[in-house]
Amino acid sequence: MNATTIVAGEEISGTWFRGWGPWFAAVVAVAFSGIAIALGYSGQLNLLDAREGLAVVVRMSIGVGALLVVLSMADSISGMRDRSTLEPLLLTPITGRSLLGGKLLAAGSGWVVVFLISLPYLYVIGDGLGTIALAVGLSVVLGALLATTFGAGAAVLSIRSRTNLQTLGVGLLGLALLAIPLLLPASVLRNPIGELLVRADPMSAAQHLIGALIVDEATLASEVSWFLSPVLAALITSWLLWKSARFIELEPGI
């Protein structure tokens, strides 16, 4: 068993067997249940509403998964600095890359759990629509890409930050900034600059893909270019993490 697997196993055990993981999962399940029941009892529901409901569950699964990964990875190094547990760890023969690889895998388990919880809800909300497989596929692909992007990005911040509060603040601010293009009026998004903004932002591009493929029933071939920024963002942040994790300092400077 290599060091990455050992770290991942310990972290997963700490979160899901000894920590807050199961209670968080139950809260997520209650939120999904609320959406499913609200949709199921909507008297004037039409097909469009049903597809919107399916898209909401996919968006929620991806969004909550990404948030969970950011919170976990923000704590990965700067949290240990705050708790004074980093120094003994740096004295062990484990490399920074193995340590952060293991922590990233463990943080990814949060997204996997949220995705698994969403499956029965996707089934009941999408019953009869014929788009369940598409919704599951999008949830897996976009969820994995965004979890990697935000997890690796938060880990890089965590390596460079002096305090965990700093990492969390910058990480959550970044997440909020990436959500801003989604709030722009539709008329802005139709002009070339607005479209470029949404295309360049991996989170907005993912949201667009979910809406276009599930709600508007666009073809995958016509929308495939929207995968570019989520894929690039995952690759770039992973490369940054690979570079940054080479040396983990006890007292870093940004």
Binding site: P22, Y121, V124, I125
Partner: protein, 191 residues
Amino acid sequence: MRTFLVLAAPLVLLAIAAPASAQTVDIAVSPLEISTEIGAEHLLAVSITNRGSEPTGPLVAHLVVIDPSGGASADAEDWTGELNRPLTSLGAGESISLDWDIKPIIRGDFIALITVASVDDASLDPASSPAVYFMVTQPTLLVSGATVPVSIAVPLIILAIGWWMLRTERKRVEELVGVYPNPPVSRAIDR
């Protein structure tokens, strides 16, 4: 008989005096009645024929959706991806066939028509197809019988799994520590 002639004569005169119809384009459409559900796709087979003796010039075919009750919005652009279909000029006696994808998006009874007009010849009267009657019902798709049981069962199952996992872990720690159900490790260290 005399009464009939008196009544019929003005009508005959009117018919003779009226200008000959300039409508030279015939539109046939099939089927003429469609009972369907919201979201189901249907193909209308449309055949457009030039009955005149001259070429028509460029034409455009357009889908119209009418809500006879006036109670619902029937925007034809929501029913099809191709509201207008540009057509090339039809020679005398020539026909063209089109398949028109239509997907009703709201419940109710609607009338759909295909109209054809000349793009640049004002003397050619627009033509209209026979009416196609859509009877659209709401599919019983969303209120799945499993919604409520799943919505109740999933959180309960997760809580049960979480409780079991924490209990198992606590037992494992107790076995490792040996004696105490909640080992007062910190207090022991303090002393």
